[in-house]
Symmetry: C2
Subunit: 368 residues, 2 copies
């Protein structure tokens, strides 16, 4: 991707693509899109850097919001939280940040670095730490490859600030979560300070571009015979993913969703329409913890984390996030193979089926 | 107090005096005494500075343990937590700490600065932030006089670290408490960074000396006709307090103690022995939140926070902390007037009766 090629008018498509890559979670990108649009209009679009163009010794940090999605809509971002978080991290490390990277491309966290990049004139790297969304701080390709989440900075809307410094990312997650709950379940992080070289060797490359391409496919797919089939075709052409498949075609007949440990957990049951889709089958069950984690058809798991399981509208292919699943919706389930760095043995230990208590062996999803 | 006049052999008395000034809370000073003794033996006693001898622009910080007392006995201090906490604070502020001050004199937190002072060759100031013990971070004479708790550093036994930076001490308390619960309810703080001038204008002066004098009275009082009467006489001679009185003489007939919001809350009921004490009366009720908060005799409050209400053994005058109150104990209740800086309008707003939900007007305790 060349420089400066995410423009103001691209943001709706980028947000739509990020919503799909959220795999049910990652938060609604709507608010993120609005604040990014405002920042682009006021300050101009930020420079977008290809990860291979980032100098080896440049200090990179990830930025993200953390908390509960429903709070996001009630407690709007003020705008100065992330600039403050990055400034405090710079002061703590005694070094200036040279570029930003999204912690996760899925959901609203894809847009925040663009807003911040525009405001602070900081380049944003066309990459992220997951190629999707995951609920916990240690569930990403930085962590599993030895880049530490801390020192990290947690900031709330009043600019109350905490710096967390621990060598263990699971401890960092626990400390950050405890603070986030106390601070109102919507906090902003600067985290994963790393060198350009570390970023290049651990990040999932090209995911801002991928989200934009997916969003364009969704936006332009209305003329296609089947927007969902068109989406699957586009996903197969994106090198970061490459493998995608429609898994099931059905109607939602039950949603069991509850809030536990600060997450939205449960499952969604579908009855087949028109043969059920590529695998046939009469009933599908999707389990989730914020993000969709497994797709089971007639008792057999056909897709499981870290692969992406996306529930989309049957007619328009618009992604449907977990909180918006409703009885009676006609949907299709699309599986996307996780990027290669998200499928290593370390990756599967951190966010494979067993990490979520799912009794299944991970087999990468294929196109057929 | 002259320099260097808390010696290794003074520590048992100091611990005993600090237990009394804990007014039922503040944590058992036994462990604190052991680790201070070890540090004095290994490194020599630290220099003790009178608050009036501290240079105006010297950076002072308070150190303390925070958490649950019962955990303190299970999760022993490793010894390097507080040096790390002070070092991180120094690095964050870009300035060296010149002297330490106990956050509270009551209970185990009186001993930790002495341990740290010995280990790090840092002077310890003969003063503290309360002249007693209180359960929350914003309940002290620094806070109510405009010295902020933050930036403060929270460290656990693995040296997992958080720096909390907020201009509001109640927020600092909430954030620290959330982390403390997550980190196992025993954490170590460096906090209230301030100048020597600020310390002098806000601290409760002479409280290390006071604790030592009280502890000596308790240790040597066994030959007195009544060790409790002897204790009251000694308290009246200590300028920081000056007013003290035996409030009730009784037998514990009920203890209602539960753990709520991370505190030990409840009340203790006493039936009179030998006329009930100075006020007469047949029954007394002491309410507590870690520390004793009010003493009610036959339905009339005779002492209330911020004054100190201490339950001591009827025969030996040994202080009995809240967790050790038991049915059948024969005790006397001693009231001590809080130091002057703990009785201002700001003080009463922060830790007077209303701050604990007690419907009473504070009237300073008198000798008669």
């Amino acid at each position: 991707m060349a420089q400066n090629d995410i423009r103001l008018e691209d943001l709706p498509d980028l947000a739509r693509g990020a919503a799909l890559l959220g795999a049910g979670g990652g938060g609604d990108p709507y608010i993120g899109r609005l604040i990014a649009e405002q920042a682009f209009a006021e300050y101009g679009a930020p420079t977008i850097l290809s990860p291979v163009a980032v100098p080896d010794d440049m200090l990179i940090c990830a930025v993200a919001a953390l908390g509960a999605t429903n709070i996001q809509m009630e407690k709007l971002i003020a705008g100065n939280e992330l600039p403050h978080a990055v400034h405090v991290l710079e002061r703590y490390l005694g070094k200036r940040v040279g570029a930003l990277i999204p912690a996760e491309i899925g959901g609203s966290n894809s847009l925040l670095p663009l807003m911040l990049g525009a405001r602070q004139a900081l380049p944003v790297i066309d990459a992220d730490g997951m190629g999707r969304a995951f609920p916990e701080l240690q569930m990403n390709s930085f962590s599993i490859n030895g880049v530490r989440a801390g020192p990290l900075v947690v900031v709330d809307e009043h600019l109350n600030t905490a710096i967390i410094d621990t060598p263990d990312d699971t401890t960092a997650e626990a400390m950050t979560r405890a603070l986030a709950i106390q601070m109102g379940l919507r906090v902003y992080l600067s985290c994963f300070p790393m060198t350009g070289k570390q970023m290049r060797e651990t990040a999932i490359h090209g995911t801002l571009s991928a989200a934009l391409a997916i969003g364009r496919a969704l936006g332009n797919g209305n003329g296609a015979v089947s927007p969902v089939d068109h989406l699957v075709d586009v996903l197969r052409d994106i090198p970061t993913y490459g493998h995608a498949r429609a898994l099931f075609d059905g109607k939602i007949v039950d949603v069991d969703r509850r809030t536990a440990r600060g997450f939205s957990v449960g499952s969604c049951r579908l009855d087949a329409i028109g043969g059920g889709g590529g695998n046939g089958g009469s009933q599908a069950v999707i389990s989730f913890q914020n993000e969709n984690l497994s797709c089971d058809i007639d008792g057999r798991i056909v897709a499981v984390t870290p692969d992406l399981i996306c529930i989309v509208d049957r007619e328009t292919a618009e992604p449907i996030p977990t909180p918006q699943l409703k009885y009676g919706q006609r949907v299709r389930v699309v599986g996307i193979r996780a990027p290669e760095r998200m499928r290593t043995p370390q990756a599967l230990a951190a966010f494979g089926p067993a990490a979520f208590g799912i009794d299944a062996t991970y087999t990468p999803l294929t196109c057929a």
